[in-house]
């Protein structure tokens, strides 16, 4: 079992070394600061588009929503419009709650056995909290980084920064000092959430059992990104104007590597992000897009009222009533069951029409 996270850990450490040595010792700042990030973005966009088009290319032959509440049937029974949607609007609402609040995960329970004879189910909310914390802190961190890509920095981003650094956390000792620049909560939450998601893969036996190397790799990578970022901000400080010079050059397609030079930790951070971007479309991280397309969530449960069309519906062999009656006619007559043709009548040929009708 250990192998799985060891492989991933080794991979991330190797990436760290490559970037650090490459930028510090080998002087490959152009490679790590410009070429690889561009390639990563191309891989991300290209891979993402290809994957989505691939998904879109498959048909949705049946409407298979998982209904998690009362259907809409008789007028005096109150339907659960969100968990059992029948209209597009309700589906949008269901998807909104699913995507924005992780509604299904909120339901999570944990099974246990008490007294050796009773199976019980307890509400289990930590995974939900951990996931929300992870995704939203990550989103905040990403949005905050827009300050490196827009000049002048828009006020919305400044507002976000102010909120994020609301808690003025400052420490000062002889050895270290934290709090200047202002402390961002999102970074800490991200790091904590990633750590939690990692630890549950190690300590919950069932989750450990199902985890693959591909589950650990992104966690380590994101941990690396968050950690190097935090390090750069509070401990091994880098020349932030030089960083912005690089990012602005990058984003305006006038790439430059600042003359002043930026510490290797920055190139590690950037390289990790590039790897994450390039890895994204080819991995489970595509759940970001997939969640929108899941047929059990994004379809309405109105299939008895509105016919769902299967684009590849094809005729199948069926056993027609005529074939059935032909086999059992005598017995049916004896039992007093009505038949279409009496046996003394010369059975007409089963017409091609009838057969066709049956078959479509």
């Amino acid at each position: 079992m250990n192998q799985k996270y060891i492989y991933s850990l080794i991979a991330v450490l190797a990436l760290f070394l490559i970037a650090y040595v490459g930028s510090e010792a080998a002087g490959l700042q152009i490679l790590f600061g410009i070429i690889l990030p561009y390639l990563a973005i191309i891989a991300f966009l290209g891979g993402f588009i290809v994957r989505i088009l691939d998904w879109a290319g498959s048909s949705v032959p049946f409407a298979i929503p998982t209904t998690c509440g009362q259907q809409k049937s008789l007028p005096w029974i109150k339907p659960n419009a969100i968990d059992n949607p029948t209209s597009t609007g309700a589906v949008v609402l269901r998807m909104f709650f699913e995507i924005v609040f992780f509604r299904s995960l909120f339901r999570n329970t944990r099974m246990g056995i008490s007294n050796g004879s009773r199976v019980f189910y307890k509400w289990e909310i930590f995974l939900w909290i951990g996931s929300l914390a992870f995704h939203y802190s990550f989103l905040t961190v990403i949005l905050r980084h827009l300050r490196f890509f827009i000049e002048p920095v828009p006020s919305a981003i400044i507002l976000l920064e102010n909120i994020d650094s609301f808690f003025k956390l400052e420490f000062i000792t002889h050895i270290f000092q934290i709090g200047l620049p202002g402390f961002y909560l999102s970074g800490l939450i991200l790091l904590a959430a990633v750590t939690y998601l990692f630890l549950r893969r190690i300590f919950i036996p069932q989750v450990k059992y199902i985890s693959l190397a591909a589950d650990f790799f992104p966690l380590f990578l994101i941990f690396g990104i968050a950690f190097s970022g935090i390090l750069m901000r509070y401990v091994i400080k880098v020349d932030i104007t030089a960083v912005k010079e690089l990012t602005m050059g990058f984003i305006t397609f006038h790439p430059v590597v600042p003359k002043e030079g930026i510490s290797g930790i920055f190139y590690v951070h950037l390289f990790f992000v590039a790897i994450l971007l390039a890895y994204f479309p080819f991995s489970k991280l595509m759940h970001m897009a997939g969640v929108f397309l899941s047929p059990t969530r994004n379809m309405a449960n109105n299939t008895r009222a509105v016919r769902h069309i299967n684009p590849w519906n094809y005729p199948v062999p069926v056993h027609t009533y005529e074939e059935y009656e032909d086999e059992f006619r005598e017995k049916m007559i004896d039992a007093g069951l009505p038949v279409d043709k009496m046996p003394d009548e010369k059975p007409e040929e089963i017409t091609a029409d009838q057969k066709k009708e049956g078959k479509e």
């Binding site: 498959s58 048909s59 489970k284 759940h287 004896d334």
Partner: protein, 543 residues
Amino acid sequence: MSDELLKPDELFAKIDHRPPKTDWMSTPVQIRKGMYCYASNYKSVEYLGLPNARPWNPLDDDWKLPENWQEIIHQGFKERLEKFRSFKIFMDICVRCGACADKCHFFIGTGDPKNMPVIRAELLRSVYRNDFTRMGKILGKIGGARPMGLDVLKEWWYYMFQCTECRRCSVFCPYGIDTAEITIMGRELLNLIGLNIDWIATPVANCYRTGNHLGIQPHAFKGMLDFFVEDVEDLSGINVEPVYNKKGADILFITPSGDVFADPGTYTCMGYLILFHYLKEKYGLDITWSTYASEGGNFGFFTSHETMKRLNAKMYMEAKRLGVKWILGGECGHMWRVINQYMDTVNGPADFLEEPVSPITGTKFENAKSTKMVHIAEFTADLIKHDKLDLDPGRNDNLKVTYHDSCNPARGMGLLEEPRYIIKKVCNNFYEMPANTIREQTFCCGGGAGLNAGEDMELRMAGGLPRANAVKYVHDKYGVNVLSCICAVDRAVFPALMEYWVPEVEVYGMHELVANALILPGEKRTTDLRGEPLPGMEDKADE
């Protein structure tokens, strides 16, 4: 019940949810007696014209597969990825968060980690990665990929037939990944090379030929219903003789044949006869049964989408032949998943039928206006709401009732309140099981999706444990003695499950309870449908 089956407390004590030391990919499958169903009878496979009909035994090393079986599976996989977006998405986006792991009744009851929905899907996903993704090809086993092989195939077969397609995991999955969908695909692939179980293949063949799973021929089908008619006449003095294959009737009634064949479903069937007779006498309901479409259930659904369509076709074909206005469907589980989510798509449009309207209350069933098929719970609830039934719930006072939501009507339709409304109107003592075990979180009976055979009794008892345990809870707490349900498979599966885990609880279909409470004009009833004295009539019943 088989002698080898462990005692309930032993089986319970044996459950160990701690995963084994060896990684699941390197833990070979062991096909164990009591946990699998017998291989499909080649005659049934042949009758249906499905691939690779031959006698085979899952315990043998040689499964007599076609030589190019790997290619068939690969091609079949590819084809299904293109045809079903669900399949492709579910192969791609699972993050293995583990939310589904302890939601599966088979995992709860067996502790076998491969019964965690996520690993059940990984069985297919591992091959998918190897065959269809770049990452899987490059990384191999580290990337969670593995090539198809005989061991993998056997594992597929074993675990695809340890899933009842109940969709409970799908409720909890943050992406709605539905293991039922995975299992459906897995079984389709297995069927391409002739790997089915007999409890599915033979009912399918029977249904195809005679119209119902048990292969009851038309005269015998009528004979069995006649038998119920006699029983009802004995206990009430009323003749409830139904109508068969009547052209021009208003409504065609289709229900699972299981209720025609075995107790306690038979009492539900009597319930239908009594209800329809009441409605005919009082309101002139014109309803017909069909011997040709004498099966509501559809084990074809547990074989492949195509087979499902082939069997389901009879409903519309018969409705068209008889010229009815619409179709009424009886109490059944997966039948209703098929009707609600598939029928109109595969065999529609049913433009030869009328939008269903209750001839008694005038209620338009708007929710069924395209498929034109109404669930009997919707139909009866509407009748009761409009006060069209003369009910004496006191007649069920000797019963303390709880209600089991069948998986498919709960999670593939959302039929939750209608049955509860009915049951509360016909029974005075109703108790819900714990909240995490009912409604959309309901647990499977352990024998759905074609697994209600006799040879896999240990699997059924283990898989039914969560449901039975919840029943036991209300039995201990409130003295519940009746488990009511709206599914014929439930009625076939629960008696054994209750006998094993909660012996004091009997299984009732909803319409049996309705018929108990329904006062027929001119009836002389002192017993319920099972011949037990009605509450307060103990003396008269003895006379």
